[in-house]
Subunit: 295 residues, 2 copies
């Protein structure tokens, strides 16, 4: 019993936090871009007991907590404690993008875990219901608000209604003509703890004041340049733009269709017609338009 | 200026008709399967005027009306009459499945037309909004109620809430283990005019009485065998099962995971672990899990 799941990385350009007492209805609205690099999760059931999670071949207490959380939610919902006393679930996440840098890797790990367990144990879950468990894990861990639904949708994603897949609503841009082969160029300078921003009332007020109007502006003119322009405006008006990231953003701005800071990571990103950039050590991807899937 | 769109064929197993004065909210709930064979639409803008539509290389007044309807809706919404006085849109649909036989080809043609025009003319439409125009065309022509949202979703599709993409809600089954490589086997004996069934009050009452409860039964046990079992029950309890189709359904039942009649076509279909069948001239496909996309 084995399976593999690919979840695209997802960079949010701008967003608005929407609170709700019900965690499947809590989330964010906003826009971002899904990459053809992301998280590939291999899952296997072996003899033994418990759960083992590795990221890029290593144990990593901090960054595997979202995976354990997701599996715990499923264990509780389906009363699987006894099953896991007699079987061992081995989860291996391979990441093509950095952790904690605004690429939605926690959502990718959560999706890999929930989709994998649903499939491998033949649980009575549909695709969206399995993905909703990944969203719940993200909300409980405060590691993300909207990456799960965006990674399920793919493309240059629009999160039109907050919440888990099947509860919220996502859409994507139609890329016109030569835009089909756009590149996403990104460069990471370090990590930002998502919870340190989305849990801070001052940042939250700024984010929501700025983010609220941008989605309708993107819907009026739904194209990649407008997405990048609004993302840049968001990063500056919220004062989330890091000065070091700004230096990279300004270099990328000259070379691409538009650039901004990934929400939330110490990462500059841009959408470009070419893979070329003067920024050393940049990650160059294409856009993933199919979304999270079994591979 | 050229583009290509693939829309998977979609066979509905069971459904319920939901009326609404607002055509984007009108549609059906139910379940079906999207095939990796379908409609590929090539679109091109040339000098000249008007719109030319061909199916498999031929003019076809009856089966191209959905495409003209879709383009008309877009022309009205974006006031494009003048544009089309000076430019000619050439639309070529290539179909890998039969017309009028329950494969959702009208929805595939409508999706090809709406996505193609949105892209080629750089209209301010998102993916779901362009798809919603295809749904509107289907409702106005009474050619389908739920194929558009199912063909956008892909997979063994669940239409949980009726309406256009972005208004209704779709989900899909997680296929377990060996089910990843399932085959869809179908054999067509002839056409059924969708409007002759969904416009008939007696059939409609039977469809809705039977269809209403089946979706929740599939959600309790979301797997391909259950989908086929409920589809078979629907085709018999509604008296939609054609006697000639029944003969094929019974042969396929013995050879596969389950079989039924396509809604709505004189077509038997089955989901199977192997591509082998004793039914001569059967169409053998796999399941498409990504949904309608630019190619």
């Amino acid at each position: 019993m084995k399976c593999s799941i690919f979840a695209p990385a997802h960079i949010t350009g701008f967003f608005e936090i929407i609170e709700n007492m019900d965690p499947v209805k809590k989330g964010s609205k906003g826009a971002g871009v899904a990459l053809d690099k992301g998280v590939t999760t291999d899952m296997e059931i072996e003899d033994g007991s418990g759960v083992s999670v590795k990221i890029n071949g290593k144990h990593d207490a901090r960054n595997t907590s979202i995976t354990y959380k997701t599996i715990d939610l499923i264990k509780k919902e389906f009363k699987l404690d006894e099953y896991f006393n007699n079987k061992r679930v081995v989860v291996k996440h391979e990441l093509e993008v950095p952790l904690g840098a605004g690429f939605g890797t926690s959502a990718g790990c959560a999706l890999g875990a929930s989709m994998g367990i649903a499939k491998i144990l033949n649980l009575p879950l549909t695709f969206n219901r399995a993905a909703a468990i990944a969203h719940l894990a993200e909300i409980e861990m405060q590691s993300g608000l909207g990456d799960v639904i965006a990674e399920v949708c793919g493309g240059i994603t629009l999160r039109l209604k907050e919440g888990a897949p099947g509860v919220g609503s996502a859409d994507k841009l139609i890329l016109n003509g030569s835009e089909e082969d756009l590149f996403v160029i990104s460069k990471t300078l370090g990590e930002i703890e998502t919870s340190s921003i989305i849990g801070d009332p001052v940042y939250k007020a700024k984010i929501n004041k700025t983010g609220r109007n941008l989605l309708s502006k993107l819907l009026e003119n739904p194209d990649p340049c407008q997405f990048m322009k609004l993302s840049r405006r968001f990063s500056e008006e919220t004062a989330l733009m890091d000065p070091e990231v700004l230096e990279l953003v300004e270099i990328l701005e000259d070379e691409t269709m538009g650039s901004s800071m990934a929400m939330l990571g110490k990462t500059a990103f841009a959408i470009s017609k070419t893979p070329d950039t003067s920024v050393e050590g940049a990650i160059v991807s294409k856009i993933d338009s199919c979304g999270c899937r079994f591979v």
